[in-house]
């Protein structure tokens, strides 16, 4: 059997590659036979020529025999494929401009899709590397109702973590994980890196073996402070520690404590969070102790911990969800046993646990980025559609000019199947080349996009990514079919006699309908993309222009990180004030002030009581800010009424506060807020008197109009805040290092300061609009370019086809402008149709996008008008060249051509 198979393969290979040898041998063999037969008849007495004739007749069709022998070689199909390929390549080489245009067009379309799929896959579909049984693992979310609104959050407190772990039976494991930025190393080499605290069972969720050493276990993650062991992330081990094997057993200074390195994760291990890869993993309890050295088993205040649950075998998601929801309720009630007000609040909260997919961007906490990525991926598909329409158009045009050739070949007996195969070969080759070039584009452009969308993602070489390669292949085949079918049907429909007599000049009625339809579609799709671009650009513009109520660019945040020294709160406050004073006295620094709330990053809040209002909480979000006399100058918030803080507002002096204008309106509508009394923390404390009103600040969200801020002088606030805002004359990002170096000298022991520009805290919140604007503009521009090329080629081709008609018109006295107008009118009718169709699609689709936009109605007439204007302008530009060519037609030449 095997030998037979081998003989077969060897024979076929020889037949394929030594084709000429075989042909010669076949010739020789057959002529030998005929010669012998002739000789036999000559021997029987026939004259030589009669003998040969008889031998030949008896043999019965030499060519037939040859053909049959060739078929027996089993390579006929392959040979015709090879012939088609040769023919196609020859044709493509003969028209390098056409070939390059088509390949580039398809490459842009396919490349855009490959790149976007890579991002989409990473965000939504792919489970984290090494994760075992991803279907049984859920991210745990906590839902509650407050202020008549439903909130779902993906983090909880350590107390809750312990409660759920001890009561839930529907899940076999609950792991906690969180990532902080902590300092690693000593002295000048100290760097802040992402450090993860994870449960002892965490690594058990993965099919991962440590690249070195071992992972930590549950004993090393025991309450209250765990064991100080560390597992290094592979990338950190490679890049910072040089991948040396002797790191095992080394001591590493992380945050406040010293850890022993016990292992290294395998390459590409990212844990459950794919966006930021930790440099080091610590046992959760040890990490918590590192940050806050206290027993956290009953800690229901410090919310930071993400949870993942592994469902027990056979337990459905719904069953696990309802059991965990009950456990959540019991745990919450147990926070303050015997407090009826607490019980009432918990019951009014309708607590529930929601189990979501492992990928955060598919869960209830998905950021707008995930939706934007989905939309952009849809846009990439549209770009591919436009590219295909373009190429189909070009191929159709070519098929028309090749009508005579095709008719001739049909007349000569080439079967239609063979012809179809050949035409399909052509579109396959074009799409294949486009796919290869597309991969190159995706590799290069994809890196840019990935940095934009997934700043922390590792890896990303799409050539190693089978899923992206598979999608690219599918897109390529789809493109081949989409571009090849129309010209194919046209060719196969063609009537031989008509094709031969009409020649290349006149095109059939049907094809003249198909090509303009493709053009209208292209224009419509371009309109959709450009409208999307308009929406996101305007959103980004709106959010950028949004008056935050403070300055961002000139302000930086200085954070004091205490390490290796024990300080009393009073000493900490003294240190913080010393650092603030030092910052203020640096040359070039305008002002500085400690602060407790940092925009979009860290918030303080307190229980508020105002006379005459039942529940202040129901009126909105009240954010507490702490600042000294320099605060409002430092962050650049104007004082509207009354005064800011003064040195006289010291501890022991009458308590004062400054409120935001919105807060004043919400609490005392129509009244003068100055002199009003609010009570902070409890109903029974003395009044804090309002002495000033400042402009509203957007600290927590861009859109929430019920976000209010009140301010308390630093001297009247008991706790250290350990954060200082510093204002520089120019861009804070450029002054980070000198400030850090100066202030570091004040830090005791191994404590250290970090400096961060405020911009880097505000900007991520604008990401989704920036993504949207960037990608839609890129794809919209691409679509517009493709549509313009398509329009140009169709109009130019149309002019070429109508050369004779135009000649007649000119000969009959038409003026040149009339000819130009004739051509322009045709083009503008198509584009106008496209604008109408595209606008209709955009208006319908806009309903779903509206939520992603910022202060931008999806029906914005500026956007629609602008897009229509751009499209018509581009259409006129693309049509002008062929229109002028039409006007220059010389009737003398044209009419004599036939």
């Amino acid at each position: 059997m095997i030998t037979e198979l081998w003989a077969d393969v060897r024979y076929r290979l020889r037949a394929l590659f030594r084709r000429d040898d075989l042909e010669r041998e076949l010739d020789q063999e057959l002529s030998f036979h005929v010669d012998r037969a002739t000789a036999k008849y000559v021997a029987l007495g026939l004259p030589a020529d009669a003998a040969r004739r008889r031998a030949t007749i008896e043999f019965g069709g030499i060519e037939n025999t040859k053909e049959e022998s060739r078929d027996r070689r089993g390579t006929a199909l392959l040979e015709s494929v090879v012939a088609d390929l040769r023919y196609t390549l020859r044709g493509l080489r003969a028209h390098p401009g056409f070939t390059a245009g088509v390949v580039l067009t398809l490459a842009l379309g396919i490349g855009a899709n490959a790149a976007m799929f890579g991002v989409l896959d990473r965000m939504l579909f792919r489970t984290p590397a090494y994760l075992r049984d991803a279907g049984d693992i859920n991210r745990v979310y906590f839902a509650h109702t407050a202020d008549r609104q439903r909130y779902t959050q993906g983090w909880t407190e350590l107390g809750r973590y312990f409660d759920l772990r001890s009561t839930a039976h529907s899940v076999s494991t609950i792991v906690g994980f969180s990532t902080w930025h902590l300092a690693i190393g000593d002295g000048e080499a100290t760097r802040e890196v992402p450090v993860a605290g994870v449960s002892g069972e965490y690594f058990g969720l993965f099919d991962a073996r440590p690249a070195l050493g071992r992972f930590f276990n549950t004993q090393e993650d025991s309450s209250p402070q765990g064991t100080n062991v560390a597992v290094l992330g592979h990338a950190y081990w490679q890049s910072v520690l040089g991948g040396r094997p002797d790191v095992l057993g080394q001591a590493l200074h992380i945050g406040r404590l010293t850890y022993t390195v016990i292992g290294v994760t395998p390459r590409n291990f990212v844990g459950l969070d794919q966006d930021e890869v930790p440099a080091v993993y610590l046992p959760l309890m040890s990490a918590a102790w590192n940050l806050r050295p206290e027993d956290h088993r009953r800690d229901f205040h410090w919310g930071f911990l993400g949870l993942a649950a592994v469902r027990a075998p056979g337990v459905t998601r719904d069953a696990a969800q309802s059991e965990l929801s009950h456990a959540f309720l019991v745990s919450s009630l147990g926070e303050q046993p015997g407090n009826p007000e607490h019980v009432h609040r918990v019951e009014a909260g309708h607590l529930a646990v929601v189990l979501g997919p492992v990928q955060r961007d598919r869960g209830p906490e998905a950021g707008p980025e995930a939706s934007v990525v989905q939309w952009v991926t849809g846009m990439a598909l549209i770009v591919l559609l436009i590219a295909c329409a373009n190429v189909a158009n070009l191929l159709l045009a070519r098929a028309l000019t090749r009508r005579r050739e095709i008719a001739l070949r049909l007349a000569l007996g080439v079967s239609r199947g063979r012809l179809a195969r050949q035409l399909l070969t052509e579109s396959l080759v074009l799409a294949g080349l486009g796919g290869i070039a597309g991969l190159a584009i995706a590799q290069w452009g994809g890196a840019t996009i990935r940095v934009l969308f997934l700043p922390g993602a590792t890896g990303g070489n799409i050539l190693n990514d089978t899923r992206t390669l598979a999608v690219t292949l599918v897109a390529t085949l789809a493109a081949a079919l989409a571009t090849g079918l129309a010209p194919l049907f046209q060719a196969l429909r063609s009537d031989v006699a008509q094709g031969l007599s009409a020649g290349a000049r006149d095109s059939g009625a049907r094809s003249t309908r198909l090509r303009p339809a493709l053009l209208v579609l292209q224009a419509a799709l371009s309109v959709v993309l450009l409208v999307g671009a308009g929406w996101f650009v305007r959103s980004l513009w709106n959010v950028r222009r949004l008056h935050l109520g403070y300055d961002v660019d000139p302000v930086m945040l200085v954070t004091l990180n205490r390490r290796g020294v024990a300080l009393t709160p009073a000493e900490e406050i003294a240190l913080q004030n010393r650092v603030a004073d030092a910052a203020r006295s640096m040359p070039g620094i305008r002002s500085a002030s400690p602060a407790a709330t940092i925009p979009f990053w860290s918030f303080e809040g307190r229980y508020l009581k105002v006379a005459g209002i039942d529940s202040v909480d129901l009126l909105g979000d009240f954010i507490l800010q702490i600042g000294d006399t320099d605060y409002f100058r430092t962050i650049g918030t104007p004082i509207v009424r009354g005064r800011g803080f003064e040195p006289a507002d010291r501890a022991g002096a009458p308590l004062v506060t400054v409120v935001s204008a919105g807060m004043a309106r919400a609490l005392w509508p129509g009244q003068d807020p100055l002199g009003k009394c609010i009570r902070i923390n409890a109903d029974t404390v003395p009044c804090t008197t309002v002495v000033g009103v400042v402009e509203d600040q957007h600290l927590h969200s861009f859109q929430n109009p019920r976000e209010y801020t009140y301010y308390i002088p630093l001297a009247q606030y008991a706790d250290p805040v350990n954060m200082i805002l510093v204002r520089v004359p120019g861009d804070a990002a450029e002054a980070l290092e000198p400030v850090r170096r100066r202030l570091q000298t004040l830090m005791p022991g191994t404590s250290y300061v970090t400096t961060t520009p405020l911009r880097s805290m505000v900007d991520p919140r604008m990401q989704s609009w920036r993504f949207g604007a960037t990608m839609f503009v890129a794809f919209g521009g691409l679509a517009l370019l493709l549509a313009a090329v398509g329009l140009y080629s169709v109009i130019a081709y149309g002019v070429e086809q109508r050369r004779r008609e135009i000649g007649v018109r000119l000969a009959l006295g038409a003026r040149q402008e009339q000819v130009v107008r004739l051509v322009l009118r045709g083009a503008l009718r198509l584009v106008g149709g496209g604008v109408l169709l595209g606008s209709a699609i955009a208006i319908v689709g806009g309903r779903w996008v509206a939520g992603l936009l910022f202060n931008e109605p999806a029906t914005d007439p500026v956007v629609f008008g602008g897009v229509a204007f751009v499209l018509v302008t581009v259409a006129i530009a693309a049509t002008t060249v062929p229109a002028l060519a039409a006007a220059r037609v010389d009737p003398n030449v044209t009419l004599r051509a036939d």
Partner: protein, 110 residues
């Protein structure tokens, strides 16, 4: 051409070629002549199907081809049975004998 010639049943040509080659390697012409003579001129090989059949057998590895010099000093392609071909011939011949015996039995039935 003449009425006493028989058309070959489907598939028997391969068997006849293998049998002819089991005696000695031969070129196409010789195979055709040999079959013609041995069958007392009753079997006429359609010349046009001989060569396709030879190429098919070669592809299946039952015969192998080699260029040699013929009795009149011309280059000719000689075919020889391979080991696989010999096995195939044995099983085909056996099958053929049983088939014809069975057919003969049935035809004798009254």
């Amino acid at each position: 051409m003449t009425d006493d010639r028989l058309d070959l049943p489907q598939g028997t040509l391969d068997l006849l070629i293998l049998k002819a080659l089991s005696l000695e390697p031969m070129h196409g012409w010789a195979i055709s002549e040999r079959l013609h003579q041995v069958s007392n001129a009753t079997v006429q090989i359609p010349q046009g199907s001989l060569y396709p059949a030879l190429h098919r057998l070669e592809r299946r590895g039952w015969i192998k081809a080699e260029w040699g010099t013929s009795d009149n000093n011309r280059k000719a392609k000689y075919y020889a049975l391979t080991a696989a071909g010999r096995k195939q011939l044995a099983s085909d011949a056996d099958e053929w004998a049983r088939l014809t015996a069975a057919v003969a039995l049935i035809l004798r039935m009254d």
